[in-house]
């Protein structure tokens, strides 16, 4: 697609632009983010560092095992800055945790901004993470109609034919009703 000169000039200048959002408008109504920093594979009893982002200030962040009501593995003190900051917390994986895939869950039980959004991070205890799955296989194209079907066309033809024949029949009946028998001639003796 051809670009206008104006658009090219704007685009060329803008590519080098660095976006610096206004601090007053950070989205304090976003979902929270909890991920594992570095290697997410760990042995039972080992340590992982969770990276916490988008959490509201003023309330502690609890990191629990498996669910929001699971055992607490660590607590990050209440953030003191806006939601633009990142927080790290080292937690110890229970030594009796069986090998496999497990979830760490973050909670923040307060009424402030997005507090309460559940963060989840996956740890692989004694195992490696699986290869990332690709997109779901789906059809690429949409279904398109094929125009009037054979049945529809047949019905159209029969409908026209039937209509015309009916018309002819009516015409015929009207015509024969108007024709009169000749008067019989008297026979002369």
């Amino acid at each position: 697609m051809a670009l206008t000169r104006w658009r090219m000039a704007v685009g060329a200048a803008a590519v080098a632009a660095v976006l610096v959002p206004a601090a007053m408008s950070w989205a304090c109504v976003a979902p929270v983010s909890m991920t594992i920093e570095g290697n997410a594979s760990v042995q039972p009893g080992g340590k992982v560092t969770v990276l916490l982002r988008e959490y509201a200030q003023g309330a502690p962040i609890e990191v629990r095992l498996h669910s929001p009501t699971g055992p607490v593995l660590g607590v990050h003190p209440p953030p003191t800055t806006t939601m633009t900051s990142e927080h790290k917390l080292e937690v110890t994986i229970p030594p009796d945790l069986p090998y496999g895939t497990h979830l760490l869950v973050s909670t923040q039980n307060y009424h402030h901004m997005n507090s309460g959004n559940i963060g989840r991070a996956t740890v692989y205890v004694g195992t490696l993470p699986p290869a990332p799955a690709g997109p779901e296989p789906r059809p690429a194209l949409l279904e398109v109609g094929s125009g009037p079907s054979a049945v529809t066309l047949t019905l159209i033809a029969l409908g026209v034919a039937g209509g015309l024949l009916l018309l002819a029949a009516v015409w015929s009946m009207v015509g024969s009703g108007r024709r009169t028998e000749p008067e019989p001639q008297p026979v002369k003796k």
């Binding site: 109504v29 669910s67 633009t84 307060y110 402030h112 559940i118 789906r138």
Partner: protein
Amino acid sequence: MTFRTLMTGAAAVAAAAVAAMSGPAAAQTAMTYKHATFQEQDAKIERLTSAVRMSRDEEAPARGFIGTADMAVHPDNPRIIVGATMDLRSRICYLTVSKDAGRTWNHSKELPGAGPYPYCQNTTAGTPVVSLEWGSNGTLYYARQAYGDGEGPREGKASIMLARTTDLGETWQTTLVENNRGQSGESARTATGVSGLAVDTSGARDVVYVGYSRSHPDAPTGSPLRNPAVMLATSTDGGETFGEPVNLNERSQVNVTIAGQSVPLIMRTGFGAPFMTAHNGTLLVVAGPEFEQGKAPTAPADSGSGGSPGSWFHFALPQLIARSTDQGKTFTISPMSPPRYDGTGATTGLKWTPKGGENGTFVAVHAATPPTSPTSGVADVVVQRSTDDGVTWSEPLAIDDAKPEEFVTSFYPQLNVAPNGRLDAVWQDNRGLADNRYHVRYTYSTDGGQTWAPNVQVSDQPLNFNLGISWNSDLRYPPGVASANQYAAFGWADARLADEVTQSQDNFGSVAQFSPLPTTANTTAPKLAAAFAGLVLAGVVLLVAMQVRRRGGGPAPEPVTRRQATPAR
């Protein structure tokens, strides 16, 4: 929803619940809304397509598209879909167009309103940044924030523009809805938008409503100019000219009772507002609630140490709605919803459908957390309906069918309606996902929002929020949905092509198809041919009938003989 007083009891119950929890060891009890009825609808999804890249026209590695929060199908051609989007890096708004029902997309030949106000990027989040809507006679309206070099979100003095096209963006006409260029002093104003655009096509000329917010960044603290202003500008001549914009917050007289005190509420502008729809002379404008400056009550104990002074974050408050039936001259402003926490924002999808009531139904979808929840962040996408032209609203019901024990956060909903009245709602959620990944989720209703289809995941792979400029800068936007009788098309921001260096962010989209698209082949010729065949058939039958009658006619009549008269003897 009639006017209600905030129940301080609800806040007290929540506070008691939190107090009962002993600090870090306290159990999370997620409270959710009652579910809507989920059942099979009159239409069924026959096909869900793979995702396609909608922003393929832009190859710059640093691209940062925000998704297409506002999308619409051409009223007369279901193959044409348009979407409004923005590139966060270049600060430019685009019109993206598909002419094959969402399989391929291109940016319009000309940018909407390019010229002395080329930029539109702002720092709203969780709401549409740029809005579009079809009007009469194939006119597409596109409203955005507008500024040039030396102006913008940080510098102030941004304006609002309406662009119009009748040729899918080959050419545009523009009108400045609010022009703030060159202003200075304490009363200098700036505008942020556009989260709301509504077009009423019921009259002789389109009535166009543009909703945005205004602020006075240089006004001194304590000045009334510091109060948020939710603005509405009205054009009664198809967008050619606009009247003086109206500040809805100067007309709000909604009060709530908190801790025994009556506290006024106004419409919130933070993160973007308002959200609008118009139908047959009725205009509805929705925004989240806010306290006037200096009048916020003290934050309750359950809001943590970040809660003083109080703000709307700490209280369960109702969503507010303004209703006008005289083209925006006068409004009735009241609570639309019961009190709720909106820890994921106030974005509201608003539409009218002919289904569900004698005069149709206005439908609103927004994310909410019930007032009984011990936190403000785990949210449902809820629906509210009005069958009396927007005067009263039903109780919110969750249209996300996640189970409460899954602790799913559903957020940033959008809504659209097909010509046959089918409602389409789309949002994002983290159902069954971890590691900062999310899906785009969808449901629909063919009975005016009374029942809904079981939810469908329409993104083909999880959105990785760890990559992309939005996820790294906290500027995130809703997915969008466009509705035709035959399908619903979706668009969202997606960083699947990003790496740690580029953080590229594209628009991706897919389609849920209900019925085949009409063929583009000539359908008249086969029908004419069939009719001609019928003609021929009738002629042959008549011919055969005549032949049979001629050959098979009755015995010839006897000749009449006359007797000669005999003379008498």
